[in-house]
């Protein structure tokens, strides 16, 4: 399967799971909304350009927004993490490109600890920014802080479960492809 096709399928799957499963199940508590759709942006191949990432992020967020009737809310958060992503990857991956020949971020490509840091930073940014925008509209500051912590926690739990249960096949970047 080509990279483009694979990512389109992934996007559809993540959006559908987010809209029809995670947003519909009765939540444990009103603070805890499980989010996983932005794993799509975390998993995008290294080869996507920075501007490409921004537009992909924007439309990912906007698709979810139109399902949830919050136009712009998730789009803004996704654009932010798409913008920050290349910097984090630059810090966390080895500079020597001959040793580094994986196609997309994964625990095996980046080692577990750098990958965990990468996911943690992006998750925190996504939730922090999104909930901050919600907080501007309505809510109290304490609510906002608690929600950032709890939703980040539950999202990390979901993401690492997905990583452990569905290990992606190793994809090497080769000269022929």
């Amino acid at each position: 399967m080509s990279d483009v096709l694979r990512n389109i399928v992934r996007l559809a799957a993540f959006i559908l799971i987010q809209v029809y499963v995670l947003n519909k199940v009765p939540h444990l508590h009103r603070f805890i909304t499980p989010y996983i759709y932005f794993l799509f942006i975390i998993w995008l191949p290294f080869s996507v350009t920075r501007i490409g990432l921004l537009f992909v992020g924007f439309f990912t967020g906007l698709i979810l927004d139109y399902f949830m009737m919050t136009p712009g809310l998730h789009a803004a958060a996704c654009v932010l993490i798409a913008f920050v992503r290349p910097f984090i990857i630059g810090i966390l991956t080895p500079k020597d490109s001959s040793e580094f020949n994986y196609r997309e971020p994964s625990p095996r490509a980046m080692q577990w600890t750098p990958y965990a840091v990468y996911v943690l930073v992006l998750t925190l940014l996504h939730h922090g920014y999104m909930l901050f925008l919600e907080f501007l509209d309505a809510g109290t500051f304490l609510d906002f802080i608690i929600r950032v912590i709890t939703t980040t926690g539950i999202s990390l739990l979901l993401i690492f479960t997905v990583e452990l249960v569905f290990p992606r096949q190793l994809k090497f970047r080769t000269n022929t492809a």
């Binding site: 519909k24 009103r30 921004l54 949830m68 009737m69 654009v79 925008l133």
Partner: protein, 292 residues
Amino acid sequence: MRNIFLFIRRYAAFITFFFLQVLSLWFLFSYNRFHRAKFLGIANELTGRVNTQFNKVEDFFYLREENRRLNRVNDSLMNLQPVNFLSRDTTSQLSHDSLPYDTVGHYRRFVMRPGTVVYNTVNAQKNYIQINRGSNQGIRDKMGVVSSDGKVVGVVVNVSPNFAEAMSLLHIQNTISASLKKSGEFGTIEWDGKNPGYVILKKIPKSVDVKVGDSVITSTVSFTFPPGFLVGTIAEVKSDQSSGMYLLRVKTAINFNNIQQVHIIENLERDEQMKLMDETRKKIEEAKKPGQ
């Protein structure tokens, strides 16, 4: 000139980022104020199609509850049929007027249209319900939505050709005029964004006798709902320290998790009522101007 191009090339990613951020925030804040989403017409049609497909499956899980509701309404309607009533007085005969819309003074104020909920959440602070009826079927903004057994669900805020988005009672910006069934006192229903099972009834003065379990119904002064539709029952009586009014926690009559069939209510006199209100306001403001 060359420097400008160099600058744009150098910071292309940042400029794109900035542009997309501003675009998203513009979408977000313009929507929050007016409930008019950009490109909602197209987007709503698409999400509506997908939601309809998923809803076909989901509906099966709520069939039992929905059947029970329908049966209950049928029961209440059947009990109203004239054949159930006999008169002791043999000289008079109970007859039912089959022509209620006549020149004697009866006229229709509210029209109901059926619809099906295709998507609905209870977990957000702003919960919307998507209904598979839109402007092509005569749905317009500010129409009321009630469940199949006549419990208040929400108000339509946005329509596309074949779908409508309704703000449910569980929306922090929602305000619906409601009254106590027992005393007829008016108040406003709002939601604090906390528990999806409860809404709050405000502006009931302390002089009114209120007890836990009292019914809260739509008021006679609402432009959106006909009077007498059940909103919920009072679950807790608290008083608001700042205003000297009650702060009543109302358990919603409907379980928002399993709404399936709804009725959309049109007030045929709404335009006239709104026009009268606007003109009255204008008149009063003109009268206030000095020198007249």
